[in-house]
């Protein structure tokens, strides 16, 4: 097993390690909820011990407050490592990595789809959250449906929550199913097209401290880096690509060792 996989597993466990919830129900309510994870991990998940930065961002936007903490948090992470946390820490990205390994028809996403996430960030998590004062991205988030919505309903022994299920819940489940099905055929479909956290970090990819570097002298343009890339980024052509999650799979696969990484 690769180092990246081990880190992904450990990160998933650490971020969702509130074991008492399995026995007592409810969610974690301790001091760790003050701190956000640098990736998408629903804070409504019974096992989650930290907060989701996108949920927190929308909450502050809804309150018409400047989100100093969340903006600083995203900025500090982004300026140092760019989208690296997407590649190494995100449980939903990890799930999509695993799904793509399943035998299925494989498809390539058009490049323009990468820009949809900026619309989601500005439109859904920004403008709509501001106008309606409600976290509308959370209401559509497939990760929230998977790790929070479904477990909460399944764990509801009294039947109170089940009685309240309406069309919105089924819409979330439908979005989740579509995302998961497309992830079988398209590399990290959600991360590339809809993830607003990825959209924020991707802005920093161009000038973050950690950079991918290509030795043009050594590169034979075999495109093996693009084939192995979980985001299907042509790293040999654009090492600062907005979709590069610095998973470093390309560094390992490069036959001529033309790809490297490090501080700029």
């Amino acid at each position: 097993m690769s180092l990246k996989r081990i880190v992904q597993i450990i990160a998933t466990i650490i971020q969702n390690s509130y074991i008492p919830a399995l026995f007592s129900g409810g969610i974690y309510q301790g001091i760790l909820k003050r701190y956000c994870t640098p990736i998408l991990n629903c804070w409504g998940c019974p096992l989650a011990v930290t907060s989701c930065p996108m949920g927190a961002l929308q909450h502050f936007i809804g309150l018409k407050l400047i989100p100093f903490y969340i903006a600083g948090f995203f900025g500090a992470i982004g300026i140092i490592i760019g989208r690296m946390s997407c590649g190494w820490l995100c449980p939903f990205g990890f799930l999509q990595d695993l799904l793509y390994k399943a035998k299925s028809v494989k498809m390539i996403l058009p490049q323009w789809c990468s820009y949809i996430k900026y619309g989601v960030l500005i439109g859904v998590a920004g403008i709509i959250a501001y106008v309606t004062t409600e976290p509308w991205f959370c209401k559509l988030c497939p990760d929230g449906a998977l790790i929070a919505g479904i477990p909460l309903v399944l764990a509801d022994s009294s039947g109170d929550l089940k009685a309240l299920i309406g069309w919105h819940f089924y819409m979330k489940i439908a979005i989740l199913i579509v995302v998961l099905l497309l992830s079988l055929s398209i590399k990290r479909f959600f991360c590339r097209t809809f993830c607003p956290i990825g959209a924020i970090y991707s802005v920093f990819n161009n000038f973050s401290l950690l950079q991918m570097k290509i030795d043009k002298e050594k590169c034979i343009e075999c495109e093996s880096c693009q084939m192995v890339c979980p985001m299907h980024v042509p790293i040999w052509r654009s090492p600062k690509n907005i979709d590069c999650i610095r998973c470093l799979d390309c560094v390992k696969i490069c036959p001529t060792k033309a790809i490297n990484h490090g501080p700029r």
């Binding site: 701190y35 949920g55 100093f68």
Partner: protein, 100 residues
């Protein structure tokens, strides 16, 4: 000399923007938010353009920007953002789950 003039110019613009955003537009939250984000973005973009050819300055710039963001986290904490995040994160948002 030209570069120093550029830097001074950028600093003046940043200071003016700061006062404009936090003093003049203090009562209009949406404008304040938009201008805050726009000023940060503009500042980062122009500082980056200025520094892109000078490796040491570029490196320093990254550290300065990181420090600004960390200061943002600390300032947010002083304003009560941590407690607010803990409070809202400790309740199950049923409407977010589609259960309402």
């Amino acid at each position: 000399m030209k570069k120093i003039e550029n830097l001074v110019g950028i600093a003046v613009v940043l200071v003016l923007l700061y006062f404009f955003i936090f003093r003049v537009l203090d009562r209009i939250p949406i404008l304040r938010l938009v201008l805050y984000l726009a000023s940060i973005g503009t500042a980062i973009y122009f500082l980056y353009r200025f520094a892109r050819r000078i490796a040491i300055v570029r490196m320093l710039l990254i550290f300065v920007i990181t420090a600004v963001f960390i200061a943002g986290i600390i300032y947010g904490g002083m304003l009560g953002d941590f407690v607010e995040t803990e409070t809202v994160g400790s309740i199950i948002c049923l409407s977010c789950m589609g259960i309402e």
